[in-house]
């Protein structure tokens, strides 16, 4: 059990309006308070395979650390993600030869009163707390790197031609370090995991408004967010997973 808290989880993945197939994968397990999302890339359906391998690998192999584990669980989770990275990379080499295949990863789990967020690439995790949305992850993206180097200005980031270039992904080579952070959970927190098909299209303010809706029908909120991304083009696959911190009964 998790110290009186659990995650209620819903999710939705959508091909969007332009692409002919969906390379995103999502999954969750309320029993382990675990949610995961991956955005694959690579030709000839390789992206679908990479993102599915990441999500299925996490769902099959992730074990919730014992109660009151703090920093120790970060190590085992990092090892698991690294192991899945290597599996995807070996699979790519065996089946695709020189062609690259890779995937981002965004994942959260609740253990006691701690939420752990792991991510690789530009899939994001946001948190709504007390009506205010906050981005909890920093994209592993070339644009962010160029801003840090001073090569481009922050206000030009959204317009940059390198907007869609990521600097970390699962499956691209042996060894991958996920970024892992822990936060104290509060009942009522809403965690939003999403692919860039959503975050490129829907502003933080619009996400906040959708999440802070009084209705609190979370499946409907997920649908609303996907619809909003489609209404402004839907060029990319769009995925949303919502995990709501709730009092355990």
């Amino acid at each position: 059990m998790t110290g009186g808290m659990r995650l209620d989880i819903v999710g939705l993945t959508d091909t969007g309006l332009v692409r002919d197939h969906n390379e995103d994968s999502i999954g969750w397990d309320c029993g382990r308070n675990l949610a995961v999302l991956a955005d694959g890339m690579g030709g000839h359906s390789a992206g679908d395979v990479a993102s599915r391998m990441a999500v299925e690998g996490i769902l099959q192999e992730f074990q919730l650390p014992p109660s009151n584990t703090r920093n120790d669980d970060l190590g085992t989770t990092a090892q698991l993600i690294d192991h899945i990275n290597n599996d995807i990379h070996r699979f790519a080499q065996d089946t695709l030869g020189n062609e690259r295949m890779g995937t981002t990863l965004a994942m959260i789990f609740l253990n006691d009163d701690q939420v752990t967020i792991c991510h690789v690439g530009d899939s994001r995790v946001y948190r709504l707390r007390d009506g205010v949305i906050e981005l909890m992850t920093e994209d592993h993206s070339l644009v962010r790197q160029l801003i840090e180097q001073g090569t481009i200005a922050k206000e030009d980031a959204e317009n940059s031609r390198y907007k869609n270039v990521i600097t970390r992904a699962l499956g691209v080579r042996m060894g991958c370090e996920a970024e892992i952070n822990q936060f104290s959970a509060q009942i009522g927190d809403v965690y939003l995991l999403c692919s860039d098909g959503l975050s490129d299209k829907v502003s933080d303010e619009a996400m906040q408004a959708a999440l802070d809706d009084d209705g609190r029908d979370w499946a409907l909120v997920a649908r609303t967010l996907v619809d909003q991304a489609n209404q402004v083009g839907g060029e990319d696959n769009i995925s949303v997973v919502l995990a709501v911190v709730t009092a355990a009964i």
Binding site: M41, R100, R161, N164, V165, I166, T167, D196
Partner: protein
């Protein structure tokens, strides 16, 4: 290959293929693109085409203002140096230059660049 489409008041005047190197734009006769327009400075702006430091087989196209009197405008803003992307329009005096760069369209899809020291 990337190209620059030159237009004025919506009417196309010509196209300039962009090879690696520099292209000078201004009112003076020594420019690669010479504009008869009193609002354009003698040496107004420079288009610089350089190989991308991050992606193979992709060139970066920069527009650099040469301290012109009336400025060089991209997306409604005066710029000094700006990395152009496909479809962006540079306004110089009464003239517009639109970058058509099919190579960068590929970057609309997510790509991976892993730095060696990552």
């Amino acid at each position: 290959m990337a190209k620059l489409v030159h237009s004025q008041a919506g009417k196309v005047f010509g196209e300039y293929p962009l090879q690696e190197g520099a292209l000078r734009i201004g009112r003076g006769l020594g420019n690669d693109i010479c504009l008869e327009d009193l609002t354009v400075s003698a040496c107004h702006a420079l288009i610089e085409v350089v190989p991308s430091a991050y992606m193979e087989d992709v060139n970066d196209v920069f527009i650099i203002d040469q301290k012109s009197t009336n400025g060089t405008i991209v997306n409604g803003k005066h710029i000094k140096r700006h990395l152009l992307k496909h479809g962006e329009v540079v306004a110089i005096g009464q003239h517009d230059f639109c970058l058509i760069d099919e190579e960068t369209r590929g970057l609309e899809q997510t790509m991976i660049y892993i730095p060696d020291d990552e």
